[in-house]
Symmetry: C2
Subunit: 503 residues, 2 copies
């Protein structure tokens, strides 16, 4: 198999996202000699570097003879330049696929199986359908705790790992998502770091939600920090509120999440491994996991929440990480805003004291801060809650938040949506329920998170009495197309707000 099959590389100018594609002419001698057809997987080599790509076969007019076209990601991963000579081969057998099949057929995987799968995914040897198959085979509760531990360890081991010299204890928090407007993280980080805890918080952008913490923070300051910048911010303030993607912690997670998102799939084991691998890689020693439970939250019932609350610390323990879980009410939106900018505005209002004890978001943030302070100091939850409240009310948390914003970059003002459509209650009554999932979809149709100003602003909370014709919420959009889409969806789903008579 030593025979050279050289072709000249050219960039096609086609963005195929994360799936590398190469283009060869149907009359290319290599296609014919190797029996390659469209959708074949091929190995492309240049200068010792190899990528696996999907083949698309093109007509003669698309490119010159003896050339091979590359999609953007294929070009970049192989690190070639236009005109370079590359070699095309059959794809080497991906050894871990037999381990994948083992799992598909319902057998338990051992440490070596899992390590080989993760390392092949890391090397981009899996096609998207193979990743989809892996995620499906591990979905639901199909991973044992032993498998979850092995998966977490394998995911940590294939990426960078941060250390925080001089800090013996490094805290973190994480919310098992699925709840729009539940933006407690920036508040909690401000409060507990004002109390002296070291909490270098890196967050993701939205996966299936209308905003991730990183999206929200990005409307206030720079979140796209390099590792050295991040370390400087933490040295200066004891905390940060940055995007985690730039530092390549648990890089396999990025690959998996992309396909998970397309499938709208969240396996229990995958979830735990994803969260904890990032925390361990980030150098955390103590992590608080917030598990909101509600019919339309990611975790839908107490039973699943208890399982997670048991598994998270167990897996943490096996990997030397202290984990505390807190199960919270996820039955309805906590904050009044949904969407990056709107959530940022609410956070600022709470930190500045413009919003009082009636704010559910404020109450939840204080509760979680108390859990973290008690986790750190063991003073009991009551004392911890008093301390958290004092830090918030005194303005100490706000001052600390400002320090973090300034350390990360120039402070920004969250953008305002161009189109603001108030929607009114169609009857009088009490707001009994709000459907989180359809709400999230509404906010996404409005343009969040890609459009930072897009989203919703509530004028009522669950439990409130509302009069017919009173404002229910304001739809925030930046383009008319998105406004129309979102409104059409809302009109077809008016029952996402359940308003009833009586109590």
């Amino acid at each position: 198999m030593e025979k050279k099959h050289l072709l000249t590389a050219m960039k096609m100018g086609i963005d195929t996202h994360q799936e590398p594609v190469v283009y060869m002419r149907s009359d290319c001698h290599i296609c014919r000699a190797e029996g390659l057809v469209a959708s074949s997987r091929v190995a492309v080599e240049s200068d010792g570097q190899v990528i696996i790509a999907t083949l698309n076969v093109v007509a003669k007019h698309v490119m010159p003879h003896h050339h091979i076209g590359f999609s953007d990601v294929a070009f970049q991963r192989l690190g070639v330049a236009n005109g370079d000579q590359v070699q095309v081969k059959h794809v080497p057998l991906v050894p871990s696929l037999s381990a994948l099949r083992k799992k598909i057929y319902g057998h338990e995987l051992n440490d070596r199986d899992i390590r080989s799968i993760i390392s092949d995914i890391r090397a981009h040897h899996y096609s998207d359908i193979e990743i989809a198959s892996f995620l499906t085979a591990c979905a639901g509760q199909r991973l044992s705790s032993i498998e979850i531990i092995a998966l977490t360890r394998a995911m940590v081991d294939c990426g960078k790992r941060l250390t925080w010299p001089g800090h013996e204890r490094v805290f973190d928090k994480h919310c098992v998502g699925g709840l729009p407007g539940n933006r407690t993280t920036p508040l909690v980080v401000a409060i507990v770091s004002a109390a002296g805890l070291v909490i270098p918080k890196t967050s993701s952008r939205a996966i299936t939600s209308p905003a991730g913490t990183a999206d929200t923070m990005e409307t206030l300051t720079t979140v796209d920090l390099k590792l050295t910048q991040l370390q400087t911010v933490v040295e200066q303030t004891g905390a940060c509120l940055a995007w985690g993607g730039a530092v390549s912690l648990s890089p396999v997670d990025e690959v998996l999440i992309r396909v998970e998102r397309a499938l709208d799939l969240d396996g229990e084991g995958q979830l735990i491994a994803s969260v904890l691998s990032k925390k361990i890689a980030a150098g955390s020693t103590h992590v608080l996991i917030d598990i909101p439970v509600g019919e339309t939250a990611k975790v839908r019932n107490q039973e699943d929440a208890y399982r997670l609350a048991e598994l998270f610390p167990l897996v943490g323990l096996a990997l030397g990480l202290n984990v505390r879980c807190v199960i919270t009410d996820g039955s309805h939106p906590i904050g009044l805003g949904i969407g990056p900018a709107e959530e940022a505005r609410e956070i600022l209002a709470i930190l500045k004291g413009d919003v009082g004890p009636t704010s559910e978001l404020r109450t939840r943030a204080l509760q979680l801060s108390a859990e973290l302070l008690d986790f750190a100091f063991g003073e009991g939850l009551d004392a911890a809650l008093a301390q958290a409240t004092q830090l918030l009310d005194s303005g100490a948390a706000w001052a600390q938040f400002e320090r973090i914003l300034q350390a990360q970059g120039p402070v920004k003002i969250p953008p305002t949506a161009k189109h603001q459509q108030v929607q009114y209650a169609r009857r009088s009554g009490r707001v009994l329920r709000i459907d989180n999932r359809r709400l999230a979809r509404l906010a996404k149709l409005a343009g969040a998170p890609n459009e930072a100003s897009a989203g919703l602003r509530f004028h009522v909370s669950v439990g409130d009495w509302v009069e017919e014709g009173a404002p229910l919420f304001t739809l925030l959009t930046q383009s008319l197309g998105e406004r129309d889409y979102a409104l059409a969806y809302y009109r077809e789903n008016l029952d996402m707000f359940v308003i009833t008579d009586g109590l």
Copy 2:
């Protein structure tokens, strides 16, 4: 959602196999207004026809403004012409994805769930990763018999269904594949139709094997028959040996098999539904299923074979189909040839009586014919075997085979390979084992089935004594590149033939 988003269609000349892709410029107003990025799924509409496609975003030099490019399959499915105006929209919610998630999370699907999934797959609403997820969620033994029945029925209902007026009983046979060189079908069809059974046999081309029955038959006559042609052939001869793809029976199966093949995945329920849906759609009333069992066959142990032998008739019964299963020895290749032309030559030799009772393929074909004749006439297996042998030895089966070939089209002579490399035994001893899977791979590397003449010809069978330096097999290839690949693979896998001392 009434706003028009018109773009001008152009064919890109890119073959993306069965996954429709559309190409839009990154500065296209629709991309920007709709927040579309590479790998987004989009709905494209023209003249009331809608397809769902994956978006690739292209640089400005790739196409003019206000245009949208189509891959071959996208262009063909939407039925547009260059210059047509098309509309691009967000993808409508695919309703059955919630049923898919239900299965992923381990819940049983009801009839309606399965029907909705199959109908969405039929309408090409599933992406490949969604299909991969569905197949994985149903893999192994994860479908109950009730689910398999529902799946089979749903697959039948979404395609054409043949009838054979005037024939009360219509027979068929099917081999649960995985065994190279096990080409009994043409022999069995010739024998039992010579006995008067009606057996309109449609077969697939190779999926993961070096040859399918359709590939083999194609070296002898035309197999690509339209439905009316097929009906004429059956009227004339009581049988046919055609390719099933042209008549669109169980069209969903084609879609599923493509992804199954890429994943090298075979679920039990999927297998049963795939086989029986095609048989029911083809109008069969009596089907014999041959289940070869062997370490390197598709079914690896007796336990799995018994399960299949129990499930096949059960599912058949629920759908009004009589199914008989026979478990056969799949431990080694049955025929002496592998690859379309070589298998065809062996079949001709057996029918013409050039090969005697030592032929394992002949013996197996007689056994299966006897099962079918007993299934039809209930005369007992011994009498049925005598009848089958008489039909073969008397030349009646050969005459009938010729009638079928002639009815289907001009009779062809199987092509001969350009390069024939004899490989010799490296030691003396008895041939203890031959590895089916590696053998199949070797034949595929040699070019089969795309190159009809490519493949292998054995000079020994399992159990034979062979002297050092005696011919083991001949490698048949059409190009030097394929010859070199195949030889390199063989040299790395000499132990695919196990030759030992003693008995």
